[in-house]
C-alpha cells in the first residue's frame, strides 16, 4: 500500500493542477501547495461509562505563492472549483499585501522522500471495536472498586506537499492512543500509550497498570517540600525534558531566546546524556520531510553532555552559513524550526533496579501543567499527578500527596544518576518521544498540594 484511501496521490495532483492553473491565470508561477486529510475517532469514558464518543473528518488545502520576495499562506477546506479559485486569489492578494521577507526560492529536489507509518487495523477500527475494548478496560478497574476515565482513539492522517518546482512529497500514517486514569477514594493511577501500529497499544495492560498504581498509592502521606532523589518514569521525563527542544533551533539562537545562546559546544549536562533527533528511528513517527519539503536529517543534538547540533531551516541555515537540516516549519512563520523526532539514549538500569538502589526517594508516574518560569536555566514549574510514591530502603513504601516542583532542566540533566532503556513515551505536555526513565538527584519540590 503506497497511499491512504483518505487522499490519493492522483487527487493531490489534481488539486495541485487546479491551484497552479488558477495561479497562472493571475500571472503567478511560483506556488507551494499542501494538502492535509484527517479522519479521527475518539471514544471517551469517565465514571466507568462511555460519555463522549466522536469522529471528525476533514481535508484542508493550503496555498503559498512566492511573489517578489514576499510570501503568505491561505488555507481552506472548500475543495470545489470556486473554493480553490477563492483560496488562490486570497493567497495571492495576501502575499502582495505583505512585505519582503527573508526568503529563498521554492525548494527543488528530484529525489523521493515519501513515508508512511500505517496500520490497517487502526484505519479500519470501528466504534464498536473501540467500545468493546473500553468496556473491558472499565471492567478491570471497576473490579478493584475504582473508577475509570480515559480515551481510546484511532486516527488516519495524510500530509502532502507539492510545489511548482516539481516537488511532490507524500506521507501518511495512523495513530492509536489509549489513556486511562484509575481513581480510588484518595489516590489515582495513570497509564497511556500511542503507536502507529494498532496492536502495539494494549488497553487491557494499560488499565491493569493504572489500577495497580491507584491501589499502591492509597492513603497518601505528606512529605515536606525539599530536594529529593526522584525516579521519573518515561512519561514524566518526556513531559519535563521535552520542554527544551524548541530551543535547539538556529532561529531561536539568532533571536537570543534560546537557552543554548553561547552554550553550544560547552559541557552543559552529565556525560550520560546523549540526545538525537531522528525521524527514521524505529519507534518514531512523522513525515520524513519538513515544512518546505526538505528531507529531515538525523541530528546529534547532545553528545555525552555537550550540545553539538541544532536544527536549521533553509533560511536559518543561510543566515548561519551552514546547511539546512530539514526541520523547518511551514512558511511563513517566525519560529523557524525545531527537532521533532527526539530520541534520548537510554541506559541499562531497570526501573526496579533504580528503586532497589534508592534509600530515600520519590517515584513519579506523571507530571502536569508544566510551564517555564525562567528561560535560560529552563526552570520549569508543574505538579506530580496520578501516582507519586515514597521509595524507602529500596522499596516502594506507599503513596504520597502531590508536589509542586520548580526545577531547572539544565540542572536535572546534570544530576541524572541512572537511565532505563528508552521507549516510545507519551504524555500531555510534550509531543511523543523516545526517552528513558531517569533517576535524578536533588530534584526540587517546592510545595505540597491537598491530595
Amino acid at each position: 500500500m503506497n497511499e491512504s484511501e483518505l487522499l490519493s496521490r492522483k487527487k493531490c495532483q489534481e488539486l495541485f493542477l487546479a491551484v497552479e492553473q488558477a495561479a497562472r491565470r493571475a500571472g503567478i508561477s511560483d506556488i507551494e501547495v499542501t494538502v492535509g486529510s484527517t479522519a479521527d475517532s475518539l471514544t471517551r469514558f469517565a465514571n466507568n461509562e462511555i460519555h463522549q464518543n466522536v469522529s471528525e473528518r476533514t481535508t484542508t488545502l493550503s496555498v503559498r505563492p512566492v511573489i517578489d520576495g514576499r510570501t503568505a499562506r491561505a488555507s481552506t477546506n472548500r475543495l470545489h472549483r470556486d473554493g480553490i479559485q477563492a483560496v488562490v486569489d486570497e493567497a495571492i492578494a495576501l502575499t502582495r499585501a505583505s512585505e519582503p521577507a527573508d526568503l529563498l526560492p521554492l525548494y527543488e529536489d528530484p529525489t523521493i522522500s515519501d513515508g508512511q507509518h500505517y496500520s490497517e487495523a487502526a484505519a479500519s477500527c470501528t466504534p464498536s471495536q473501540r467500545a468493546a475494548q473500553v468496556a473491558e478496560a472499565i471492567r478491570i478497574v471497576e473490579t478493584q472498586g475504582q473508577t475509570a476515565a480515559g480515551i481510546y482513539s484511532t486516527a488516519e492522517n495524510v500530509e502532502v506537499l507539492m510545489n511548482s518546482r516539481s516537488l511532490f512529497r507524500y506521507y501518511f500514517d495512523t495513530l492509536t492512543q489509549f489513556s486511562i486514569t484509575a481513581m480510588a477514594s484518595d489516590s489515582s493511577g495513570w497509564a497511556k500509550a500511542t503507536s502507529a501500529i494498532h496492536q502495539d497499544v494494549d488497553p487491557i495492560a494499560l488499565a491493569e497498570r493504572a489500577s495497580r498504581k491507584a491501589t499502591l498509592s492509597a492513603n497518601p502521606r505528606e512529605l515536606p517540600p525539599g530536594r529529593y532523589t526522584v525516579i521519573l518514569e518515561p512519561a514524566a521525563v518526556l513531559d519535563l525534558v521535552g520542554q527544551i527542544f524548541m530551543d535547539f533551533s538556529g532561529t531561536a539562537i539568532a533571536d537570543q531566546r534560546s537557552f543554548l545562546n553561547d552554550r553550544v559546544g560547552e559541557k552543559l549536562f552529565g556525560s550520560n546524556i546523549t540526545i538525537y533527533d531522528d525521524v527514521a528511528f524505529p519507534l518514531q513517527t512523522g513525515a520524513p520531510f519538513d515544512g518546505e519539503g526538505v528531507p529531515r536529517r538525523a541530528l546529534k543534538l547532545v553528545k555525552e553532555g555537550v550540545p553539538r547540533q541544532v536544527a536549521y531551516s533553509r533560511v536559518a541555515a543561510r543566515k548561519a552559513e551552514t546547511e539546512t537540516t530539514g526541520h523547518g516549519f511551514p512558511l511563513p512563520n517566525d519560529q523557524g524550526e525545531a527537532p521533532v523526532n527526539i530520541v534520548i539514549v537510554g541506559g541499562k538500569t531497570s526501573l526496579d533496579e533504580m528503586i532497589a538502589s534508592t534509600e530515600n526517594g520519590i517515584l513519579v508516574t506523571r507530571l502536569w501543567y508544566i510551564r517555564e518560569v525562567e528561560p535560560y536555566e529552563k526552570v520549569m514549574t508543574g505538579m506530580t499527578r496520578d501516582g507519586t510514591f515514597l521509595v524507602r530502603k529500596g522499596e516502594v513504601a506507599g503513596g504520597l500527596r502531590n508536589f509542586r516542583f520548580n526545577q531547572s532542566v539544565v540542572e536535572l540533566l546534570r544530576n541524572v544518576e541512572a537511565l532505563t532503556a528508552s521507549e516510545r513515551a507519551t504524555g500531555e505536555e510534550a509531543f511523543d518521544m523516545v526517552v528513558p526513565g531517569m533517576k535524578v538527584a536533588d530534584f526540587h519540590f517546592t510545595e505540597v498540594t491537598r491530595f
Binding site: A46, A72, T95, G150, Y369, R404, T449
Partner: protein
C-alpha cells in the same frame, strides 16, 4: 447555511434518535505577526463544516464532516448514530437533558470597524512600526507584534425546534519586547502577554489599545529589568494588575466551577475540581468583598465568552458564582444540570468549531468591581505584580503558582523599587479569602484569554475575565526561587 443545517438535521432524525442537533459553521481567520519589523506569519484560514450530535439508546454520538454533499451528510449522520449505539457497551445511565425551550433568533456581535475591511498592508504596517519603536531602545534584542481577527457564523438547529443563527467577530493585538543580557532573558508585553488583548470587537479594539504610545515604556522596562533586584522570598501583601488577576480568576475559579470537571468527566486529562457538590452554598470561597459571576450576556461586555446562545441552544445568562464570598453556583450544561437536579442549564456549552463536541467552557467569568479607589488598593507595604509570565495549577485546582513579567516593591502606597522574576503561589480558597481591596469600575477591564485548552480531542476556547487591580494579604511570594 440554514438549508445545510436542515438537511443535516433531517439526515440525523430517524427512528431511535431521541435528540439531535447540528451546527453548521462558516469561519474565517486572519493571523499576522512580525519580528524585528519583518513579516512573520501572514496567513488566513477559511473553514466550513457540519457537526452532528445525537442521542440514541440513551448514549451520545457525534460526527463532523466538511463533505457537505447529501452523501457526506448522510455518512456523517449514520456515523454519529453508529457511534452512539456503540456506547451501549459501556453505559451506566441514560443521558437526560434539562428542559429547554425552542428558540429562533439571528444575532451578530457588535463590530464598529470590520477587521477584514482594514487592509493587510495597514495592519502589517502597524505591527512593523511597533517593532521599530521597541528596537529604538538600546538593549532590546527582539521585538514581536501580532494581530488576529476572526469571524465565525454558526447556524444551530435542533430536534426540539431551535434555529439559531449567530455571528461573532473577534479581534486581538499586542506586542512584546525581549532583552537578552548576561545570561538573562527578560520581556515586557502590552497590553498583555501571549498576544495581547482579545475582545469580541472589530478593529476599533486596535485603536482603543493605542499600542504605539505604550511601546517605549515597555521597551525601557524590559531592559531595566536586568538591573532590578530579584523579587524577595517571603509573605507579603500582593497587589495584582487586572490582566494577571484575570488569569488568576480563570485558573482558580473558572476551571473549578465547571460541573463536568466536578462530576469526573474530565478526570483523565484536564482533571477534576476541589468544588465537590457538598461545597455548593456552604464553602466560603473568598472574603466578603469577593463577588464573581459567569456572564455570557452582551450587557457584561465584549468578552470572548459573550454570545446570544450557547452551542446547545441555551440562552446566554448571568450566573452568580461567588456572592459576598460564598460559593453559590457552577457552570452547567443541559446534561449536567439534570444530573444534579437543577431545572435549567446555565448555558455554557461551547465548541471550538464545527468539528468538535460542545463542552462546558467558561464564558465571561469575572470579578465584579469593588468600591475602593486605586489609591486605597495600593495603600500598603507589599509587592505589585504586572503581566503574566507563567501559570500552573494542580489538576483539582487547589495549588497554583504564577510568575509575572515585572513587579515593584510598594511602600505606603508608592512604587519604590523595580523587582525582577516575581512569582507567587498559594491555595485557591486561601488566596481569595485574603482579598481585602478591589478597585472600582473605572479600572475594570474585560480581558480575553484566547487559548484555554480542555477536552479530548483538545479544544482551544476564548474566555473572558473582567477584573480590576486588587490586593491580597500575606501571600507566599518567590517560592520558585529563581536566582
Amino acid at each position: 447555511m440554514r438549508d445545510l443545517a436542515e438537511r443535516a438535521l433531517e439526515a440525523a432524525t430517524r427512528n431511535g434518535v431521541t435528540y439531535a442537533d447540528v451546527r453548521v459553521e462558516d469561519a474565517k481567520e486572519r493571523h499576522l505577526t512580525t519580528k524585528n519589523a519583518k513579516p512573520g506569519n501572514v496567513a488566513t484560514y477559511d473553514s466550513m463544516g457540519v457537526g452532528i450530535r445525537v442521542i440514541v439508546g440513551g448514549c451520545w454520538g457525534f460526527a463532523a464532516t466538511d463533505e457537505v454533499s447529501a452523501k457526506g451528510l448522510e455518512r456523517a449522520a449514520n456515523l454519529a448514530i453508529e457511534i452512539a449505539r456503540s456506547g451501549a457497551m459501556a453505559k451506566k445511565r441514560d443521558v437526560v437533558l434539562a428542559p429547554e425551550d425552542a428558540h429562533e433568533i439571528t444575532w451578530a456581535s457588535p463590530c464598529a470597524i470590520d477587521p477584514f475591511s482594514v487592509s493587510v498592508e495597514q495592519q502589517l504596517q502597524l505591527l512593523m512600526d511597533l517593532d521599530r519603536e521597541l528596537l529604538k531602545t538600546s538593549g532590546v534584542t527582539l521585538a514581536e507584534s501580532s494581530f488576529v481577527c476572526s469571524r465565525k457564523r454558526q447556524y444551530f438547529a435542533s430536534s426540539i425546534g431551535s434555529r439559531i443563527d449567530q455571528t461573532r467577530t473577534v479581534t486581538g493585538a499586542g506586542f512584546t519586547a525581549f532583552s537578552f543580557k548576561d545570561d538573562e532573558l527578560q520581556k515586557r508585553s502590552y497590553p498583555n502577554s501571549f498576544g495581547g488583548q482579545y475582545q469580541l470587537k472589530g478593529y476599533e479594539l486596535v485603536h482603543e489599545l493605542d499600542l504605539l504610545r505604550h511601546a517605549p515604556r515597555m521597551a525601557e522596562e524590559a531592559v531595566a529589568l536586568h538591573s532590578a533586584d530579584a523579587c524577595p522570598e517571603g509573605e507579603f501583601n500582593l497587589v495584582l494588575d487586572g490582566s494577571q488577576l484575570g488569569l488568576q480568576i480563570h485558573e482558580s475559579i473558572g476551571h473549578p466551577i465547571e460541573l463536568d470537571r466536578v462530576l469526573g468527566t474530565e478526570a483523565n486529562y484536564a482533571g477534576m475540581s476541589f468544588l465537590t457538590l457538598d461545597k455548593l452554598n456552604t464553602l466560603r470561597y473568598g472574603s466578603d468583598i469577593v463577588n464573581v459571576v459567569c456572564d455570557a450576556r452582551s450587557e457584561h461586555g465584549p468578552g470572548l465568552g459573550t454570545f446570544a446562545f450557547d452551542d446547545e441552544g441555551v440562552p446566554a445568562q448571568c450566573a452568580p458564582i461567588i456572592t459576598n464570598g460564598q460559593f453559590v453556583g457552577y457552570m452547567t450544561s443541559r446534561e449536567t444540570a439534570a444530573q444534579i437536579g437543577q431545572a435549567k442549564s446555565s448555558g455554557t456549552m461551547r465548541a471550538d468549531g464545527w468539528a468538535r463536541l460542545p463542552l462546558i467552557r467558561m464564558t465571561n467569568v469575572s470579578l465584579t468591581p469593588g468600591e475602593q479607589s486605586l489609591e486605597h488598593v495600593f495603600d500598603t507595604d507589599g509587592i505589585y505584580m504586572e503581566t503574566n509570565r507563567s501559570w500552573s495549577i494542580d489538576d483539582k485546582r487547589y495549588n497554583f503558582q504564577f510568575g509575572c513579567e515585572i513587579a515593584w516593591e510598594v511602600k505606603s502606597g508608592k512604587r519604590v523599587r523595580m523587582l525582577k522574576n516575581p512569582t507567587y503561589s498559594g491555595i485557591s480558597t486561601e488566596f481569595w479569602n485574603s482579598c481585602d481591596a478591589i478597585s472600582g469600575p473605572e479600572h475594570w477591564t474585560l480581558w480575553g484569554v484566547p487559548n484555554c485548552g480542555k477536552g479530548q480531542p483538545e479544544q482551544a476556547m476564548g474566555t473572558g475575565h473582567g477584573a480590576s487591580p486588587s490586593r491580597f494579604r500575606n501571600i507566599k511570594i518567590g517560592s520558585a526561587q529563581i536566582d
